[in-house]
Amino acid sequence: MSETPPEQGPFERDGQLDKPGIVGARWWQQGLAAPAGDPVTRRSALGTVLGVGIALAGVGAFLALATSGNDGDDDSGPAPSQAAKPLLELQRDFGWDFSARGEALVFDGVTQTTWDESSMSRMSVDLSPGNSAHRPFYVPTLFQSPTAMPAKTAEVDGSATFVPLFKSLKPNKTPQMDVAFARGRALGATLADHVEDVAIIVDLPGPESVAFAAGLAGMFDPVFLFDNWPHPRGAVRAHRTLSAALYYQPLFAKRKKDTSLRPPVFVLDRDRLVTVNETTEFDNRWVAKLPTASQLKRLAKRVLYVTPQSTDTTERDDLVDEFVSYDSAGIEVRMLGADAFGSTSGEGLALAGETSAPPAYTYGGLTESNAFFFVDYPWWPAAPKPPTKVSNSVPNSARSFKPKPRVSEYSTGQAKPPSTHPRPATFGTVPVMVAVGTGVVLGWRHHRNGSWNRVGSGGGYGGG
């Protein structure tokens, strides 16, 4: 365990005390603007402070929480009961492979690069946005998983040795990622002189989203929003996304230095809302946490939402309310199928420092059809016009997309959606068995070795 490379990061200590009467420190996140001045001292100013800025509304269940036991430190009680717990929280406490220790991850790509294992510890920093205005929207969760160590051990994992995730990972690349990279580069090259006021949201399968963003990097500033951890039985194959990110990590780290003033490209995994089989899979789904309309308005006036197919006509359910809010705020949202960019002969755009150019892809798959992008997305009056002798052969129903309220498990269907969005009741949670009295988490409800599964045939439990 001691070989885990320490995570490197942006928080820097600027004040520290280590004296008999007090020990503590203050940190600032580098890149999120300069520290504020320190004009006042605490006690004098707090003399009249009543303490709380927000009050009122439902008190809910928190009163019962005061003396509830924390999970995992004590011996288990005599009889387990079932509870639903957020999987990410369980993984952070008990390890990425909670209740499935020793089970392998399955990859479908090929490792095609040499790499330094210690680079895992830099992932969350190397893949953070270069533009400090985008940093607060970055979700580093996935990139924190490789080197994370558990603080506790679940009973079902007790005898097996924990192996950090980074030991199971390698950079992976698939042919689909190559295509996505070339398409991302082609979109970036097309928009090269027209990036102002545009934000892109890429919503492809995880590895392809990463590759598409890699293609755009250098022209746009990637803001990753992956908010889960891999799990051997995870419904969302986050390890594939992580391996793709690992493959492109050197590129992202290099391009980050060039992207300080570039517009954002928000990167999502299209599979984040997959259907979960609760008895065989762990629910590591997540929802997109995009900027609110008022926040996005400071960054962009237009949003290009990239989906896999030109025949796509709807956004993912968790984006419905957000897109409706954008539209209401005057931010135009248009959809673009990534497959609208087809391959042509020749080479695509090579950026500074690249030894080889990606394959050439253009909008419509023909050199002369590329300018039709600006016909289908007429945001730039001064953009190149397509030759008149060429007809628009780009089948693209996605371009007709306009945000509309729609009711789903993740959206309200309201024209003015509230800031909080609906979620399915057990979203992102897994059923676990906990010891009654102590609250100690014993393991996954459906774990094959759990004593609670050996009782009766009706899913009963009771201490085996």
Partner: protein, 190 residues
């Protein structure tokens, strides 16, 4: 960039060598000069869990959540200066308590996060801090807020401060210390 602040301070009896003090001191000290997002999260998560497990022992406390940018920055400076100026700590040792005289010593543990307003983390904490006024100082509320630390994405945190008073066992705060004007903001936890 607009800011919000979340801050929490608790005061609990301090017995020399207590697990609560030992664990909190270890957590504060284990932070290095630079920290990544995950390290930050882990430190705060661990501190919150230690405090949560000891919520029954809280005797005083205070917490804030302010969405006003100017107030957030000013208050973060205040909380920071509570540490940097050593305002809350003693200037001289208080000595070990004499249990036969009913002496008691106390510790305080403080965290403050300067959050980027409007981010999911800030909104989550804002919702968590919606508490009916009559319950503001209930220990269940403190436990509820400590649980919210698990949902903090430190990419959305601009600055943070964490400190423990005292470091050494013979520098604990006395009841007389806590009666001073400068500690008036600490409310009795019910």
């Amino acid at each position: 960039m607009q800011h919000s602040i979340f801050a929490l301070e608790v005061c609990a009896p301090y017995q020399a060598g207590s697990a609560l003090h030992r664990d909190l001191a270890a957590i504060v000290k284990r932070q290095t000069k630079t920290n990544g997002f995950q390290q930050k999260w882990q430190v705060y998560r661990d501190a919150a869990q230690v405090l949560h497990a000891n919520a029954a022992s809280f005797v005083r406390g205070c917490w804030d959540f302010f969405e006003d940018d100017e107030r957030a920055q000013k208050d973060f400076a205040m909380w920071s200066n509570g540490m940097l100026t050593e305002e809350g700590s003693r200037r001289a040792p208080s000595g070990l308590p004499d249990p036969y005289r009913g002496d008691a010593r106390f510790l305080t543990f403080t965290i403050a996060l300067l959050l980027v307003q409007g981010t999911p983390t800030e909104r989550t904490l804002a919702q968590r801090c919606v508490i009916p006024e009559q319950h503001l100082w209930n220990r269940g509320v403190f436990a509820h807020l400590l649980e919210g630390i698990a949902y903090v994405n430190f990419a959305s945190v601009k600055g943070d401060v964490m400190y423990l008073i005292p470091r050494d066992e013979d520098w604990g705060l006395t009841e007389e210390d806590l009666r001073a004007e400068k500690f008036k903001y600490l409310r009795a936890v019910t």
